[in-house]
């Protein structure tokens, strides 16, 4: 047993290593990235855990399912919106079930620190009919990984561990245990279970539903779902929000508290609490899942249910000790008197010397003959070009959406339809809409910002950069004359503007690859 300082993400990673995983899969995305990176770093020397970033979350999930099929334990990790990409494989893996233990660690981002939405992955667990753990601290995150793998193998079901940014990116010390050995290779030969033809799928889906009472029983008996009955004011807290509650309470408080950290929701414990109290405050980060479930359509007779839906807490955003304090009706704590200095905001920006800056300066000039041109963009550092001073891009929706949206806009008659996308985002979600656009001969211009890395999440390896990227682009069947490569540097500005203008004038699909390595990645290596 030893003690280590770990980020929540790292505690999840170490828990998975000690649970005996043979592989980790994922695609970088804040706040989940450090789970994979930690495992990659920790196991590099021995080389006994497969750790190689996947092209996207769906691929990652499928690779993980294959490793599970082969009988080995496997972790797959991603951010909440990544699970949307992986959803097809994810939902159906609940139906096939697993062989070797399969745990999905998914990191939600309440408050949208670094995301386009704050969707709550607990709904995905509920949707897929699988169990979900929600640790309240780093130690519990570590411990839950060992439990999650056991549960996955015991019931042949994928298990979700749901993190949120606050635990993913918070450090504390963690006590660790001896690592378990890895499973031997033991491929599943239950062909019908893995072949979800309708006849087989109906059987499998029924199996999945039959597992539900056992999952509920485990939730009811879980040490992570603690019920403490005191006075007639009740609180249900989910995951780490219990910490915000305890922060505001003395030892001799008179609240009755149910802390939920394992799902499905332990209904019997909730019922016991509800029968004991007159009013019930529900504290959860993300969506009001438990709150809406407990209240139902018609509310509870004799118990007032309060939470995000009734104004005690804001409907959106991350919770914190102060919001919980307010919801408990406690007075504000006095703070230091603040001076009146006008507080200028300091938003993030592209790094000094970033190649994207030169690419977008050229694009802005190339487009200046059009009236108010709109550029569809994607998800990466280059999305920061939406902010002043560049203000060069005008959308950011989903990985790869720049190209699909530009194509749709072009179909509708919008011109010039310009998409800006990074090299890694292109491999993640840009290839298929690009192929579609070329095959349909859509009049659009795709600017691929090839900086040789996944920049925003900390310079991970990109799958389609340099020659590989060029080959993929050509492989769509695009006219090679309209694939242009430029070097985004201030001294090439005029030439780059000229090339962009030529391609904007072309009626048909064109690709401009702006190729220069990320300066952060150069610094790092």
């Amino acid at each position: 047993m030893s003690k280590e300082i770990l980020l929540g993400d790292e505690a999840i990673g170490l828990g998975a290593i000690h649970a005996g995983i043979s592989g980790v899969y994922g695609y970088p995305g804040t706040p989940s990235t450090e789970i994979f990176e930690f495992i990659e770093r920790k196991t590099k020397k021995n080389g006994d855990v497969h750790a190689f970033w996947s092209t996207n979350e769906k691929v990652a999930y499928e690779e993980a399912l294959g490793m599970s099929w082969a009988g080995k334990r496997v972790l797959v990790c991603m951010k909440h919106v990544g699970l949307n990409v992986a959803a097809d494989a994810f939902m159906n893996s609940a139906v096939t079930g697993t062989n070797g233990g399969l745990v999905l660690a998914v990191a939600d981002d309440p408050g949208m620190h670094s995301s386009q939405n704050e969707q709550d992955s607990r709904y995905f667990a509920q949707f897929a009919l699988i169990p979900c753990f929600e640790p309240k601290n780093q130690q519990e995150g570590y411990d839950m990984m060992l439990e999650a793998f056991e549960l996955s193998e015991a019931l042949e079901i994928p298990v979700m561990v749901r993190l949120i940014t606050r635990i993913a990116h918070s450090r504390s010390s963690v006590d660790t245990v001896e690592a378990l050995p890895q499973n031997p290779l033991n491929p599943s030969k239950e062909i019908k279970r893995w072949t979800l033809l309708p006849n087989n799928a109906r059987v499998q889906y029924k199996h999945l539903t039959e597992k539900q009472p056992e999952l509920l029983k485990r939730s009811e008996n879980s040490v992570h779902n603690e019920l403490e009955l005191r006075g007639t004011r009740g609180v249900i807290s989910c995951g780490l929000v219990e910490n915000y509650l305890r922060e505001n309470l003395d030892e001799d408080h008179d609240l009755s508290i149910l802390s939920i950290r394992q799902y499905p929701i332990p209904a019997e414990k909730v019922r016991t609490l509800v029968e004991h109290v007159d009013e019930l405050l529900i504290l959860e980060d993300g969506y009001p899942l438990v709150e809406n479930t407990v209240r139902g359509l018609f509310g509870l007779i004799g118990t007032e249910v309060k939470g995000r839906m009734t104004g005690e807490l804001p409907r959106t955003g991350e919770l914190n000790p102060d919001l919980v304090r307010g919801a408990l009706g406690l007075p504000k704590i006095e703070a230091a008197h603040s001076p009146s200095t006008n507080l200028a905001l300091r938003p993030p920006s592209l790094c000094k010397g970033c190649p994207h800056t030169d690419s977008f300066k050229a694009l802005n000039d190339a487009l200046n003959t059009f009236e108010d041109p709109q550029v569809f963009s994607d998800i990466g550092c280059y999305t920061l070009a939406a902010l002043p001073p560049l203000e060069a891009v005008h959308s950011c929706v989903a990985m790869g959406a720049s190209i699909g949206m530009a194509a749709g806009a072009a179909h509708a008659g919008y011109s010039p339809a310009v998409a800006a996308i990074g090299d890694s985002t292109f491999s993640h979600g840009g290839i298929t809409p690009m192929l579609s656009a070329v095959q349909q001969n859509v009049n659009l211009n795709v600017l691929i910002l090839d900086n040789d890395t996944v920049g925003m999440t900390g310079t991970q390896r990109s799958m389609s950069t340099g020659r590989a990227l060029d080959d993929i682009v050509h492989g769509t069947g695009i006219d090679p004359e309209h694939v242009r490569i430029i070097l985004p540097l201030p001294k090439h500005h005029d030439q780059n503007v000229k090339i962009m203008r030529e391609e904007l004038a072309h009626d048909g699909p064109s690709v401009i690859i702006a190729r220069r390595a990320c300066i952060e990645s150069i610094k790092g290596h």
Binding site: S114, E242, Y244, A335, A344, C351
Partner: protein, 251 residues
């Protein structure tokens, strides 16, 4: 005992390195600790902070509640301003006075410093001046660690051990620079407080410290400076306008 500290700065200034030193010192000292930080988009030159808590008893929340923060430690002066509502009325501010200007509406620096200087429990150090003297402008974060060190529950050795550990893989030269930055920060923080405690206005004390040769800093010279400046109203301006730094022993 519980200490709640907000580490503040701009993405790229090395807030997480500051946190590393305190986390490890807290673990060594046998304290419970939690430290929440910012990754991702804001790290690209945006405002970043880290909530650091250590205690001899169990800590619940990763986030520091409003009004419960004992100290704001800022590697950049404007960044202090974002966190007043977390600070206890008798809390401390330890801040760099070296601005990091990457936004168009950055306030006028002396106005900002005057506002900060009005807060009684403050330590102001010119991290740019001290880090440059230590050998690398990037070591400003370790200057602030040093400036804070007199107010925390760790010995100089406990902190220095992890300053060295943090930079060990970058080679001896970088270790030496950061060690020096820490020690200059520690001396400058103490000297600043000695000036203020001897009756000098905090703004003037900060300005004076930014012109003193860091290797000469020692608290026993502080009272004489307060006397000197009281007797000669033009002395501070003369020193500030001169191109060279002065010894702490006297001009």
């Amino acid at each position: 005992m519980q200490k709640n500290i907000i580490l503040a700065g701009v993405g790229g200034q090395g807030i997480l390195s500051v946190a590393y030193v305190f986390d490890n010192a807290a673990l060594d000292a046998g304290f419970y600790f939690k430290q929440a930080e910012v990754h991702g988009m804001a790290q690209r030159g945006g405002a970043v902070q880290s909530n650091l808590r250590y205690s001899d008893a169990k800590i619940h929340s990763d986030l520091i509640p409003e009004g419960r923060c004992d100290m704001v430690l800022a590697v950049e002066p404007l960044e202090v301003m974002r966190y007043w509502h977390y600070l206890k009325p008798d809390g401390w501010v330890v801040t760099s006075i070296t601005p990091f200007v990457n936004i168009p509406d950055y306030p006028e620096i002396d106005t900002l410093l005057t506002d900060l200087a009005a807060f009684p429990n403050i330590v102001m150090v010119d991290t740019g001046h001290l880090a440059r003297a230590a050998g690398n402008l990037r070591s400003q974060n370790m200057v602030t660690v040093g400036a804070t060190s007199n107010l925390l529950d760790f010995t100089e050795e406990q902190l220095l051990k992890h300053v060295e550990g943090l930079f060990a893989r970058k080679g001896e030269k970088i270790v030496a620079v950061n060690r020096k930055a820490f020690l200059y920060g520690r001396a400058a923080g103490a000297f600043f407080r000695a000036l203020v405690d001897s009756g000098l206005d905090a703004f003037k004390a900060a300005k004076l410290c930014s012109k003193i040769k860091p290797e000469t800093l020692a608290v026993e010279y502080a009272a004489a400076w307060v006397e000197r400046l009281r007797n000669n109203g033009a002395l501070l301006d003369t020193i500030l306008e001169s191109g060279s730094n002065v010894s702490a022993e006297g001009p």
